[in-house]
């Protein structure tokens, strides 16, 4: 079974839990005392990942780190339909890669702001917040135009991709870093769509989507 070296409040770890929950992949978590224990910086953990960061997965002896790399691996291996990581469609695959890189930006701004506010990281909070707003503005516009074309996801296919999974936690927890999503209506509608993907699982701080009216 896949082992996920995990910290419950980490957005990058949550990305993996979310992906595996949606793909219905069985896994076990190994809780890492990330905060305040800094276990991931210790000698023991560096034997697993010399860079000293999480998430890391151990899939039957195959070790992989870096959140977005793990998403690529999980989707490529465990999604037989090939839609989450669309290797069969070069155009869509290129878009996916592009938005995955964009998600590095949202992680380094929006989620960094959250680390500042919640866990006391010594980053430049205002710069993180301003950077996140710049990226959210771009993403909101992009999603607004997508909606006009009748499309629901970050990439142009009819099905969500790992880019949606990579972006969602950074966006949906932004308020914790003092980044309001009031000005980004298309972004808010997209987060609700992600929450309704079958198999969706939240994390502390994320409200579930409201239940639909039963008729």
């Amino acid at each position: 079974m896949i082992k996920l070296y995990d910290y419950v409040l980490s957005v990058n770890c949550y990305k993996q839990r979310l992906m595996m929950s949606i793909l219905d992949v069985e896994y076990e978590t190994v809780p890492v005392d990330f905060f305040p224990g800094w276990e991931h910086k210790g000698e023991e953990f560096r034997k697993i990942n010399p860079l000293g960061h999480i998430p890391v997965i151990d899939d039957d002896g195959y070790i992989l780190w870096d959140a977005h790399a793990i998403l690529v691996y999980l989707a490529a291996k465990y999604d037989p339909s090939g839609r989450w990581y669309p290797t069969g469609d070069p155009g869509l695959l290129g878009e996916t890669a592009s938005w995955m890189l964009f998600a590095e930006g949202t992680t380094n701004t929006a989620s960094a702001a959250r680390l500042c506010v919640n866990l006391g990281y010594d980053f430049d909070l205002e710069a993180c917040q301003a950077g996140a707003h710049r990226l959210f503005r771009v993403l909101d516009e992009h999603l607004w135009f997508r909606e006009r074309e009748g499309r629901e996801w970050v990439c142009s296919g009819a099905h969500p991709t790992i880019a949606d999974i990579a972006l969602f936690p950074d966006v949906v927890l932004s308020e914790e870093g003092g980044i309001s999503r009031l000005d980004y209506p298309a972004l808010r509608r997209w987060t609700d769509r992600v929450k309704r993907i079958p198999g969706f699982e939240g994390m502390p701080g994320i409200f579930p989507a409201s239940r639909g009216v039963e008729v």
Partner: protein, 302 residues
């Protein structure tokens, strides 16, 4: 008078002991900088766990090596119950007692220190509230439809002037890191200082004793704070990582709820927000803050 030039002019708050950080997590003999009541405050601890606290100044910048015992012009400080405490006014000789802390079989440690974009008393009041358990901590501290908060008792202790809520009970699906099934859990709440609260909770490992969970809040400004989560548990099974994961999950579920309460400062006017029957503890807490003369991080009653 200390504090005369700071943001906080409220004697009732200045004279309190305030937590700054966990002793264990502060690298010894190094300057650490934090905020308290709108001011930049620095502290350092010795390897033996003695502390020095001072108003931040240029010659002792964050991260610089320092012998805490050589620092001049320090503020009152103490290392107690896992944390470094200070006061910007004239603090009482003793803060409060936690006799259980010294029982040899207890595990005492900081679960986390988390920054919140709200006032210290909002954080305390949320900690005091059982009504939200089934809605915010579904599957852990509560579960629909078992939403009833059974009547409980509240009083202010005549000797210590602490707020107590006793005989609280709640049905919890997973009351602690070791719980394997749902159970009716006994709670006692105790508010020792305006921004410090302690919870006594049924202990699964020792039915006749209580686990202690504290929230000691550092008011960094009127509308921002850091919550230090104190644990004193009887549990020799779970790893610290496992317990921290459980407690931090719950804390993080509360964050969006607390941060969306407006106004951020706690209104003390009884008419300001509409309480229900299960809010008796928070009604008393607000009145007690008024009686103590607390005006910082609250909206005083007219």
């Amino acid at each position: 008078m200390a504090g005369a030039n700071g943001e906080c002019q409220n004697g009732a708050v200045l004279d309190q002991w305030h937590p700054l950080g966990a002793i264990d997590e502060a690298e010894p003999n190094v300057v650490h900088v934090t905020r308290l009541l709108g001011e930049s405050i620095s502290f350092a601890v010795t390897p033996e766990g003695r502390s020095a606290v001072w108003r931040t100044r240029g010659d002792l910048a964050a991260g610089m090596p320092v012998d805490p015992e050589s620092v001049a012009g320090t503020l009152p400080s103490r290392c107690e119950f896992l944390y470094v405490w200070t006061s910007l006014g004239d603090p009482p000789e003793r803060s409060f007692d936690i006799p259980e802390f010294f029982e040899p079989d207890r595990r005492n440690f900081n679960a986390c220190t988390i920054g919140l974009r709200t006032s210290a008393p909002r954080a305390v009041e949320n900690f005091l509230d059982m009504g939200h358990f089934p809605f915010v901590h579904d599957g852990l501290l509560g579960s629909e439809p078992r939403t009833e908060v059974v009547d409980y008792n509240v009083h202010v202790d005549g000797d210590t002037n602490e707020v107590w809520a006793t005989e609280c009970q709640f049905w919890q699906p997973a009351a602690s890191a070791t719980a394997t099934e749902g159970q009716m859990v006994d709670y006692v709440y105790r508010i020792m200082q305006p921004y410090s609260i302690l919870l006594y909770k049924s202990c699964p490992a020792a039915p006749e004793r209580m686990d202690l969970i504290g929230l000691f809040v550092q008011a960094t400004s009127e509308e921002h704070c850091r919550g230090h989560m104190f644990l004193s548990l009887i549990d020799d099974e779970s790893s610290i990582g496992h317990i921290r994961r459980f407690v931090q999950t719950i804390f993080a579920q509360d964050v969006p709820i607390i941060e969306n309460q407006n106004p951020k400062r706690l209104p003390l006017d009884p008419q300001a927000e509409t309480p229900i029957r299960s809010d008796r503890a928070s009604i008393l807490y607000r009145r007690w803050l008024s009686d103590l003369g607390v005006t910082y991080a609250v909206i005083p009653a007219a």
